[in-house]
């Protein structure tokens, strides 16, 4: 959310700045007393959809640097929690963050523990904000925001003391290797403008304080950066440089602040804490001191925003998908219409061409097919002539054979089934054993008898076999099958007859037989 409400709370006053877009628009100052609190409550009344960031500038603060073993996840959380309890047992506004890792093999983490030891300073203000149901993103100590300042100014001095004047006094924050180490707030005489000499003394005292903390030796070179938002501290820079040859003193004047930090002139003059409020608005910091109960509304707010963002992303995705689909539909429609136009044009041209064609009773393909079919039928038509010739030749070689019935068929099935009477031996009509089954072929049925027949079945059967042999030797014949012999010697059937001769010397009965002749498929 771009809308932020930035608060700077000090023992003297509260600065409240509205942040919209990328800069703050208005800034109001409230006295840190009951009337100020009441005014602040009224100030908040019309405000909604703002996330509150609270910056505290108080004397009651604590910084501890500790080297802790490398750890991650829940182990790290537990370890830090134990340390926070150990250092700040009864303090709700405390926190720790990893500044850097040790370069050794253990990769120990260098953690800065800090706490607001006077939470009473902000509690009433926080309560007013929570009553208004505005989400509090975090409560930060003012020196931690100085980290953003040196990052924006790209300062790389190993020992840097940032000096700035605020409503509560003179803030001196020491950074070692661009990392916050310690900060102190020197309260100044509130009766009038602080003297340059006093300010210079505070800087010297801070140097001694750092030496006392064993953070910085007196031999080490220190860079002092004076934030001079009113261009009134030229003399301080000169004095510090004169009194402390081992100190490099630089001043960040009003114009440079505006140019390098992007704050507007009006915003800068609106409050003594304006610059740090601006820096607080620029970057959301990780080093929040507020307990979970204070930031619960913010977490809820963030969850809502995340779900809204997800809904928005989903909607955008759906819109993009639909847009792609619609564009594709338009493209495909265009191609379809182009094809339709081409088809119409081609058909018109074809119609024009066909007008020059001779008048035909049917389509060209039908003409062709009809003629070809007629030719094919003519080519595939068969007559009994071939079969008759084959039988005639066999009969000439076997004069004892008398033909009684001749059948012929051109089909996928043999003629036998059709010609057999109900008393005929069982012969499968479809002839599955026939090699020519399912293919159209010529088959013939020969029904005849052996004459003369004097009861000698052996001789009659031999005659029939010779006839069959004569048929089989014809090159057109694929197979000859004996369907019935004069005497059925099948052991599965009964057999009866007589051996008595008739008066003219011939035995009663006939030597009848039936044959199936199948021609090759190519015939």
């Amino acid at each position: 959310m771009a809308n932020k409400l930035l608060l700077s709370v000090s023992a003297k006053q509260i600065s409240a700045a509205r942040w919209q877009g990328n800069c703050f628009t208005t800034c109001r100052i409230f006295a840190n007393n009951d009337s100020g609190l009441s005014a602040f409550r009224q100030y908040l009344a019309p405000i909604s959809n703002h996330t509150v960031y609270v910056m505290v500038d108080a004397v009651g603060e604590d910084y501890r640097l500790e080297l802790l073993p490398s750890s991650f996840g829940s182990d790290r959380t537990e370890m830090i929690g134990r340390k926070l309890k150990q250092h700040y047992r009864n303090n709700t506004y405390c926190g720790a963050w990893l500044q850097e890792r040790d370069s050794g093999k253990r990769r120990d983490g260098r953690y800065l523990f800090c706490a607001l030891t006077t939470p009473d300073l902000i509690e009433p203000w926080v309560q007013v904000i929570l009553e208004r149901k505005l989400p509090i993103a975090g409560v930060y100590l003012l020196p931690t925001i100085g980290q953003t300042l040196i990052e924006k100014l790209q300062l790389d001095q190993p020992n840097l003391l940032v000096v700035s004047l605020h409503s509560s006094g003179m803030r001196l924050t020491y950074f070692r290797n661009q990392k916050l180490r310690v900060s102190r707030l020197a309260q100044l005489d509130s009766s009038g403008q602080p003297g340059i000499k006093n300010l210079a003394e505070e800087i010297s005292n801070t140097r001694l304080y750092l030496h006392g903390l064993r953070v910085l030796t007196l031999d080490e070179r220190l860079t002092v950066l004076v934030i001079d938002r009113e261009d009134a501290l030229h003399a301080l820079v000169q004095t510090v440089a004169h009194d402390n040859p081992n100190i490099e003193c630089r001043r960040l004047g009003r114009a440079e602040i505006i140019e390098r930090l992007g704050i507007s002139t009006n915003a800068l003059t609106s409050s003594v804490d304006a610059l740090y409020l601006h820096l607080l608005g620029l970057h959301a910091l990780a080093n929040n001191l507020a307990p979970a109960s204070v930031t619960a509304g913010y977490r809820q707010h963030r969850a809502q925003r995340a779900v809204y963002a997800l809904a928005g992303a989903t909607a955008l995705g759906a819109i993009a998908w639909c847009t792609i689909n619609i564009l594709q539909i338009i493209y495909v429609h265009g191609k379809t219409e182009a094809d339709a136009r081409d088809t119409t044009r081609q058909e018109a041209q074809y119609q024009e061409i066909t007008r020059q064609f001779p008048v035909a009773p049917a389509a060209a393909e039908d003409l062709k097919h009809a003629v070809e079919i007629a030719q094919k039928i003519g080519g595939t038509t068969r007559t009994p002539e071939t079969m008759m010739n084959i039988v005639s030749q066999a009969l000439e070689l076997n004069p004892a054979i008398v033909l009684k019935t001749f059948g012929w068929k051109y089909d996928t099935t043999d003629i036998v089934g059709a010609a057999e009477g109900p008393n005929s031996p069982s012969v499968d009509k479809s002839s599955p054993s026939s090699p020519l089954a399912a293919v159209r072929h010529q088959s013939g049925l020969i029904q005849g008898e052996v004459q003369p027949f004097r009861g000698d079945y052996r001789a009659a059967i031999e005659t029939i076999n010779r006839f069959v042999e004569a048929l089989s030797q014809q090159p057109e014949v694929a197979a000859v099958k004996i369907i019935r012999l004069p005497l059925n010697i099948n052991p599965d059937l009964s057999l009866s007859g007589t051996t008595q001769n008739s008066g003219d010397g011939e035995q009663a009965g006939k030597a009848e037989f039936r044959l199936l002749v199948m021609l090759k498929q190519t015939i």
């Binding site: 809820q300 003409l367 595939t380 007559t383």
Partner: protein, 202 residues
């Protein structure tokens, strides 16, 4: 903050997310469906275009085909092979052949028209083939008359037929040698006709 409060606070955004998902997926489905329809229409139109293009390319070939086959086709029409079957022509053909060969008369029986069972062997394309099976029964002096009869019938141009089967049996003449049939023949003939697709549909 307890979980109930959390869920209550998230109710509105979650409902909005749900609505967005439903509306979004519905819209996507709808546009996808429209796209598929459009693609289908395009495929059909493109096929029509390709068919028209092919027709155009083959127009010369079509003209040549018509010129090449039209006379034969008209002959087949006259023959009764193309179009409706001409049963009167078949019967006239039988009668004329019988008179010409001085046969002893021909009995015939024509069954109902049915699809020709061996059409697939002939690659008929869009044409439909039909057959009407005619059973004929005739008396013969000798077996050579049967072959001569079939040959003569084919030359009558009464239609296109194929012989399916014949059965020739010796007639009981009682030993007499007067002018009478010595053999009886029964044959099945398939009279085949084709119909163009348009006529078949009608």
């Amino acid at each position: 903050m307890n979980t109930v409060v959390d869920l209550e606070a998230l109710k509105k955004p979650l409902l909005m997310l749900l609505a967005v998902i439903m509306i979004g997926s519905g819209t996507i489905y709808f546009t996808r469906h429209l796209l598929q329809e459009a693609a289908h229409a395009f495929d059909q139109q493109h096929q029509q275009l390709q068919a028209a293009h092919t027709r155009m390319q083959k127009s010369g070939e079509v003209k040549a085909t018509i010129l090449h086959y039209i006379d034969s086709y008209r002959y087949l029409q006259q023959l009764g092979f193309v179009g409706d079957e001409q049963r009167i022509d078949w019967i006239d053909g039988l009668r004329n052949t019988s008179q010409q060969m001085q046969l002893f008369g021909i009995k015939y029986q024509i069954s109902a028209q049915q699809p020709y069972p061996y059409a697939s062997e002939l690659d008929p394309g869009q044409l439909a083939l039909y057959q009407s099976v005619m059973k004929i029964s005739l008396g013969l002096l000798h077996e050579g008359d049967l072959l001569e009869f079939l040959s003569a019938l084919a030359k009558k141009n009464a239609g296109v037929f194929s012989v399916n089967q014949c059965l020739v049996t010796r007639a009981d003449t009682g030993g007499s040698i007067r002018y009478q049939p010595n053999l009886n023949a029964e044959c099945d003939l398939s009279w085949i006709t084709v119909k163009p697709a348009a006529e078949t549909k009608s």
